[in-house]
């Protein structure tokens, strides 16, 4: 239990530590940031090791009062759902530090301070079990990212940063309204307590209430995910953000949305979630296909990857709103996968940018010749991203689609089109950037990976393979948590299952059997 608190507190301390270092001593700042983030990563691995996957409830729980009235508690803990997301955050922060090593050369101190501070917020989002605390962390993680984009971004950084902030803010204020309303009904912000009130039938919402509350939460999360058509902040934010910003944004921050959907929307508003699942699923599918199509025609690498995120995250949302164990497991797994593979893509694009100072695909071509290792790493990441078996994304996508198929086969059919398209845009990108004769300016500027860069990318590549093959490392804990969430959503909503069931009777059969 102290381990988890340490994970939360250490980055905050690191933030202060970095602030205390004189601003001109870049080396010390970087080293400190790296050390702190690695330390936190180590601690989070400790969490993973000591985590009991068989136990479905929260572990490493700390629950102390923070504010007496209204009763707000510092209540943190993790279950299988949050465990790996925490590890993901702690893993990608050192990666973010490493990729910024040369990239960030001005206002270094502020950069690393914010990066480390953000880690605290991100971890907090995933471990908070008090709705209010959750909201606080949710917002806290927003500010550093805003600055990362706005200060260290590219030309249109300000537009992107403000857009990012306002989109997210617009969603989260509605969530705040819903959270407060929930409090006025439940008289507590404590999430497990609210759930047990609901389970005991002492807290009920009228359909209208539930729908409105659901929408309040959902919009905040959907913007963060981002779900079509609320996604337009993402490409801008990604394109303008510095590498580390993009990495953290794509890998961890977007997961805040899907995590929220799964953690809060489903158990709190089971009926509304199920009732609205059809159109949400449709939006998710539209996002999958649409994101892929738009990604295909992007001339800018980061934008391409950003739109691919829209597509990938569509799978996650689809899985969540399939309300099947497979779909949920797949969705969570896909969150992690997307974190790893898209994170790696941004890392690699960042490497390219550091060499050639351009994000336009047209400025590259033939990179494989001067930088074979970079090309190989990019290839593996590309393959992971397009869902090649034995690499990570495949497992997630498979589970999601399999889960969806149990509910509505038509959804699966359309969603699976996204997998075809993902191959189109990624391979086309790869071809344009890496194949062909190397142009003189590419030859002149592009060199192969150096050890620091290897250190940043190799763990991710190893994880891609690991997660694609040894899924048992991760899935049991995730599954236990999802089983519980699913159970929570099944209270008194039996009849919806039938309504959602597909046209063919057989799958309803299967569903009932489960």
């Amino acid at each position: 239990m102290t381990l988890l608190n340490l994970c939360l507190a250490l980055p905050a301390l690191g933030f202060l530590l970095i602030l205390a270092i004189p601003g001109h001593n870049h080396r010390a700042i970087r080293a400190t940031a790296l050390a702190v983030s690695l330390l936190v990563f180590g601690l989070s691995l400790g969490l993973a090791v000591r985590f009991d996957a068989a136990w479905p409830g929260y572990q490493f729980v700390t629950d102390v009062p923070w504010i007496p009235s209204p009763a707000i508690r510092y209540h943190v803990g993790i279950d299988g759902l949050s465990l790996w997301l925490v590890v993901l955050s702690t893993l990608l922060t050192p990666v973010g530090v490493l990729v910024s090593w040369r990239y960030i050369d001005r206002r270094v101190k502020e950069f690393y301070a914010l990066l480390i501070l953000m880690e605290s917020g991100l971890i907090g989002v995933f471990v908070a079990l008090d709705l209010f605390l959750f909201y606080v962390f949710w917002e806290v993680s927003l500010i550093p990212m805003y600055f990362l984009i706005g200060v260290w971004g590219h030309e249109r950084r300000i537009y992107a940063a403000v857009k990012f902030f306002l989109f997210t803010m617009a969603g989260s204020v509605l969530m705040l309204a819903a959270i407060i309303y929930l409090y006025t009904q439940a008289a507590t912000f404590d999430y497990p307590a609210i759930l047990s009130l609901m389970a005991a039938g002492r807290l009920r919402f009228s359909p209208l209430e539930e729908t409105l509350l659901f929408v309040g939460f959902f919009l905040a999360f959907a913007i963060k995910v981002p779900l079509f058509p609320l996604h337009t902040w993402l490409p801008d934010a990604h394109v303008e953000a510095p590498t580390a910003g993009s990495v953290i944004l794509a890998s961890v921050m977007l997961k805040m949305g899907t995590y929220g959907l799964l953690r809060f929307c489903l158990p709190l508003f089971p009926e509304a979630s199920r009732e609205h699942a059809p159109w949400i699923a449709v939006l998710a599918i539209v996002g999958i296909i649409y994101g892929a199509l738009v990604a295909m025609v992007q001339p800018n690498m980061k934008k391409l990857v950003a739109y691919s995120s829209v597509s990938h995250l569509g799978f996650v949302v689809l899985g969540i709103f399939s309300f099947t164990r497979l779909g949920l497991d797949g969705a969570v797994y896909q969150m992690l996968n997307h974190g790893i593979s898209t994170g790696a893509l941004f890392v690699l694009v960042g490497f390219l940018y550091e060499r050639r100072h351009s994000l336009e695909i047209a400025d590259y071509g033939g990179v494989a010749t001067p930088a074979p290792n970079l090309a190989a790493a990019f290839m593996i990441t590309t393959l992971a991203s397009i869902g090649l078996p034995v690499l990570n994304n495949f497992v997630g996508e498979y589970l999601v689609l399999q889960g969806t198929a149990q509910v509505n086969f038509r959804w699966t059919v359309f969603a699976a089109i996204g997998i075809i398209l993902s191959a189109c845009y990624m391979l086309w990108l790869y071809q344009r950037a890496f194949f062909g004769e190397a142009r003189p300016e590419v030859r002149a500027h592009v060199s192969d990976l150096n050890p620091r860069e290897w250190a940043a990318i190799l763990p991710l590549i190893v994880l891609m393979v690991w997660m694609g093959t040894a899924t048992r490392t991760f899935l049991p804990a995730i599954g236990a948590a999802n089983a519980r969430i699913l159970e929570q959503t099944q209270q008194n909503v039996e009849f919806h299952v039938h309504r959602l069931a597909p046209t063919s009777g057989a799958s309803a059969e299967v569903l009932r059997a489960r």
Partner: protein, 618 residues
């Protein structure tokens, strides 16, 4: 435990070693690892099969749980049964020969280690494909070989056409995989498992699907997958382009092994197809149409590899025809013999190309009989085998298929026969153009025979092409599939043989006896010839009907229209509207005290009205 896993593991190890260390290693090391791993694998196959004996029941080995979620458990399970045994032998056997051949063929190429690493990786995935004991693992191999195909087609990635071709192969395959994966989802939804034995026994207990029932849907979706991987209509377009890859790759992947995965899968899923006549029918017709259609295109190609590529498509169509007609064992039989003679054709072609320093155009060859005798004779063996000349291997397998087809539907039989004639014609056309007449190529180039490391595999394959028909494949496979009663109708056999011989004769007439006649005929045929010559413009049609609309639509409608225009337009519109509202509101603040006072007065009246007349009256 017989450690079946070692069979794919050897090539995987080879891939890892060569991939990680190969760049700095010597060629000898790379060869040793690359070929050695396949040798080990081949030996392990032999040892395993020897240990397993007659394989009355499948031998399944379960290693670890790959994915487990809820009630669904998918293991990393390998199976050795009669079907996979055949495939293992073909894959490792032919694969080994091609590996050896590659040592010679690729000797002067850059990225040598990369080539062998990819080949090894391919072997790994192909073996996983054929040994998988469940659908998902099969899919792993399926996608994996697709990847290797992509990598190897694009091996010379400096060439745009090669990179394009690789990408095209991958994407078209993805479309097929789309169907395959949907089938997998349906299987899980309805059977709750992906293990072959469990699924098939569940299928067996179901009544035969009369119409478009569940099994028919699954069967059709699987067929979509198969058409992608095995280059059938309408997804065959990638295979001709795939000839951009090095020739050993064409031989191994795009002739002998990978492209037959669809046939293998169809045979593997025979229990499903047998319960879904509709799907069966579709398989047969897709096969027949592809066989004929591709053969016609093959008639007019000038690139030697393209000729063989269309031939491959056509022959794969044969296999599907067989499978669709219910003769799964015949399909597999043809798969095996085809592996021999088509690999040989490609390797021979490779040898020719090697001899000519990279020239692939038949019009610039000729008279090579004298320069490359070994190649000539081995190629001739392959040609007679594919032409169905008795008693060589192609004759046996093709006949089995045609008989089954006739049994199923005479129309299919006749298509098969015509295709057989066309096949004989274009193959011998290629042979005659390349080896007879006078050398028409660059006069400064002196063609030379390939080194033994290439010719020995050729010879071995020639032997197999000639005698391969005597492997008792159908009998061996018989217990796997319900016996399809096929009376041995001599007349039907005779007709097909005659057709084949007629094709050879026609080719001799056109290209040896009366050179120049072909061009005149072509000119006479006009539109039809141009249609065939341009491959029926299928690529162009696809480009115009699918690719361009999608790309343009994504660009204009989705991105610039929807994203930038509508959504961001709305967002920016709201922002702009807010700004404008702010700009209007600030006008109230005119700076004039008297107007401020008017506003205050206005406010006071408003409040009075609100408090006095509005608030409390309810």
């Amino acid at each position: 435990m017989l450690h079946l896993w070692l069979i794919p593991a050897f090539p995987l190890a080879g891939f890892l070693v060569n991939g990680l260390l190969g760049r700095r290693a010597s060629k000898a090391f790379v060869n040793a690892v690359g070929v050695g791993s396949v040798v080990l694998s081949f030996l392990w196959v032999l040892k395993t099969l020897a240990a397993l004996g007659p394989l009355e029941t499948p031998h399944v080995e379960r290693y670890f749980t790959w994915i487990e979620s809820g009630d669904l458990r998918i293991g990393f399970d390998l199976v050795a049964d009669r079907l996979s045994a055949v495939m293992m032998l073909v894959v490792t056997g032919v694969g080994l020969l091609i590996h050896v051949y590659s040592i010679g063929y690729m000797a002067h190429e850059g990225g040598y280690y990369r080539f062998f690493a990819y080949l090894n990786l391919f072997m790994f995935f192909m073996l996983v494909l054929v040994m998988a004991a469940n659908f998902l693992l099969l899919f792993v191999g399926w996608e994996g070989v697709g990847l290797c195909s992509y990598l190897l087609i694009g091996f010379w990635f400096l060439k745009k056409s090669a990179a394009d071709a690789g990408k095209k192969a991958f994407i078209v395959n993805r479309i097929g995989d789309f169907g395959f994966s949907l089938a997998i989802y349906l299987v899980v939804v309805h059977f709750g498992t992906l293990d072959f034995d469990a699924v098939f026994s569940a299928v067996a207990s179901r009544p035969v699907d009369s119409g478009a029932g569940l099994l028919a849907v699954i069967g059709l979706l699987l067929l979509v997958g198969a058409t992608g991987k095995s280059a059938q209509v309408p997804l065959y377009v990638w295979l001709p382009d795939a000839m951009e890859g090095p020739t050993p790759v064409s031989a191994l992947i795009h002739a002998a092994t990978m492209v037959t995965a669809g046939v293998y899968m169809t045979a593997r899923c025979a229990p499903i197809y047998l319960h879904a006549p509709l799907a069966m029918e579709a398989v047969a017709w897709v096969g027949a149409i592809t066989a004929f259609f591709a053969a016609t295109i093959g008639l007019a190609q000038h690139d030697i590899k393209k000729v063989f590529a269309y031939s491959t498509i056509s022959q794969l169509g044969y296999m599907f025809l067989g499978a669709g007609a219910g003769a799964f064992s015949a399909g597999i039989y043809h798969l095996v013999t085809h592996a021999f003679f088509k690999a040989l054709l490609f390797l021979g072609a490779g040898s020719v190309i090697h001899a000519l320093g990279g020239e692939q155009d038949l019009r610039k060859m000729g008279g090579l009989r004298k320069h490359t005798p070994v190649t000539f004779w081995t190629l001739l063996c392959a040609a007679v085998a594919i032409a169905g000349v008795p008693p060589f291997s192609g004759f046996h397998s093709k006949d089995a298929i045609l008989l089954a087809a006739h049994h199923h539907s005479p129309v299919l039989y006749w298509i098969g026969v015509i295709t057989a004639a066309l096949t004989a014609f274009y193959v011998f056309r290629a042979i005659f153009l390349a080896f007879f007449g006078d050398y028409r190529g660059d006069p400064h180039h002196h063609p030379h025979e390939s080194p033994p490391v290439m010719t020995v595999p050729l010879a071995l394959l020639a032997l197999l092409s000639l005698a391969g028909g005597y492997f008792p494949v159908p009998a061996w496979l018989a217990p796997m599939f319900p016996a399809s009663e096929q009376g041995h109708d001599v007349l039907l056999v005779a007709i097909s043989v005659v057709a084949g011989l007629a094709g050879i004769a026609a080719a001799w007439w056109f290209y040896v006896a009366r050179p120049g006649l072909a061009d005149r005929v072509a000119a006479r045929l006009g539109v039809f010839y141009r249609l065939v010559y341009n491959k029926y413009f299928v690529d162009e049609i696809y480009a115009a009907a699918v690719v361009r609309p999608v790309v343009e639509g994504s660009d204009r409608l989705a991105w610039r229209g929807m994203d930038v225009g509508v959504i961001d337009g709305m967002v920016n519109g709201v922002a702009a509207r807010a700004q404008r509202a702010g700009a209007v509101l600030r006008q109230i603040q005119s700076g004039n005290v008297r107007s401020y006072a008017a506003w205050v007065l206005f406010g006071a009246v408003l409040v009075i009205v609100a408090f006095g007349f509005w608030g409390g009256w309810q």
